[in-house]
Symmetry: C2
Amino acid sequence: MAQPKFAQIKQHIISKIKSGEWAEHSRVASENELAEQFSVSRMTARRALSELTDAGILSRTQGLGTFVASFKSQSNLLEIRNIADEIKERGSDHRCIPEVLESMPAIAPIAIALGVEQNSQVYRSVLVHLENGTPIQVEERFVNPTFAPGYLQQNFEQITPHEYLCEVAPLTEARHTVEAIMPSAQVSQWLSLFNEEPCLQVIRRTWSSNGVVSFTRLISPGSKYRLGGHLTFKR
Amino acid sequence: MAQPKFAQIKQHIISKIKSGEWAEHSRVASENELAEQFSVSRMTARRALSELTDAGILSRTQGLGTFVASFKSQSNLLEIRNIADEIKERGSDHRCIPEVLESMPAIAPIAIALGVEQNSQVYRSVLVHLENGTPIQVEERFVNPTFAPGYLQQNFEQITPHEYLCEVAPLTEARHTVEAIMPSAQVSQWLSLFNEEPCLQVIRRTWSSNGVVSFTRLISPGSKYRLGGHLTFKR
DNA sequence: ATATTTGTATTGTATATACAAGTGTTCTTG
DNA sequence: CAAGAACACTTGTATATACAATACAAATAT
């Protein structure tokens, strides 16, 4: 069997939807009907329908039937990737310069974000990521020392902070925010920006089961970096 | 039965992982072991494992076993939402002002993005979205007339362009790019920005089965809009 | 010693069956 | 006529079973 039966049925349904033959909200054959059409058991037909439902392509209601889900409900997702992976995948050279590695008292917004007491000591690291020698991202990270007491002793040219934290504290959740900002003079200098230029700022908070592990700002110049699209063709 | 058996098993596994008891890449009980532990059939235990695998929490290899997936592989996804929905969900008032609604010849980059001949006629709309009277997003959209010949006759104070296009052409795919830019003078005016301010620009291309339906630029000021985070507490 | 075979544990696919539970229609009854 | 009961059809949960396919280790043959 080249393809398993349930996969063939999935393909069949997807092609009907993509071709526009089955419109949004239109009824899809029931499990029993599909089973008969394809000469399979109900459980096999059911598997095809269930997996497409999990994928958000179909929508089912007990007692009513199965329907083509509305395209609107399919959320538009954007993947936030690791800059090092992204650079390597492009076949470019990735390097990383640690600029700051220190312990400092947490000022109010940092303390709130990390869930620690104000002015308690937290770790701070600033790394600059280079693609073929050009600075492309500043990574400023504040770390809760409770979860990663050995943070300051790491060599971040060898292991990325994110990898280290994953090893030390089992991460359970991450939240992201994306915004457009003008970089501070210090950040401009790290990014070697001579003219004022808008930057994309990604803020990430990572959680372990007991609280916030780290709070990170990723800042990239708008002219050299964008999220989501792989800017393959340069102008 | 309060919760179905397969869901209870899923819960059990998730709690073990979240608590850190089961580390990354560590082995999870096999289907048969789980079946015995919970006094269920192998198929029920299997369902729990399969669904967690689909969700990216576990990873399975035939012949080898089931393992806790690495947190790293869990991609960080950001949802790009509809501005109108977002505003309404915040309990604010949403209004929309159509600024431009015209047919125009496609200049090179637009023609390429839409997959039409250069200088052929395409439709263009510019809408300004307001939250409680404050401009918060400019939506500039270029539409392939082949898929939506009646586009210019719509009243976009009643129906959003996206909703209309979904009705007219069955959308099958959408791709997004996010970047930071400085707005043009015209955009600044539409957004009522008096000072130069960086903006978040989302570029979206939507596809039907036969080609690109529309090409959209969503521009929002960095001070009033961010992606992903619900900025609940204002300063 | 090295290759081959065999065996075992595991996940993957597929079927037949049973009953529960939700939805809507039709029939019955007051 | 209207309320309720019965029914048909749907998806949801659960089980028992069979065999295929893969990975790895151990036994065996060369």
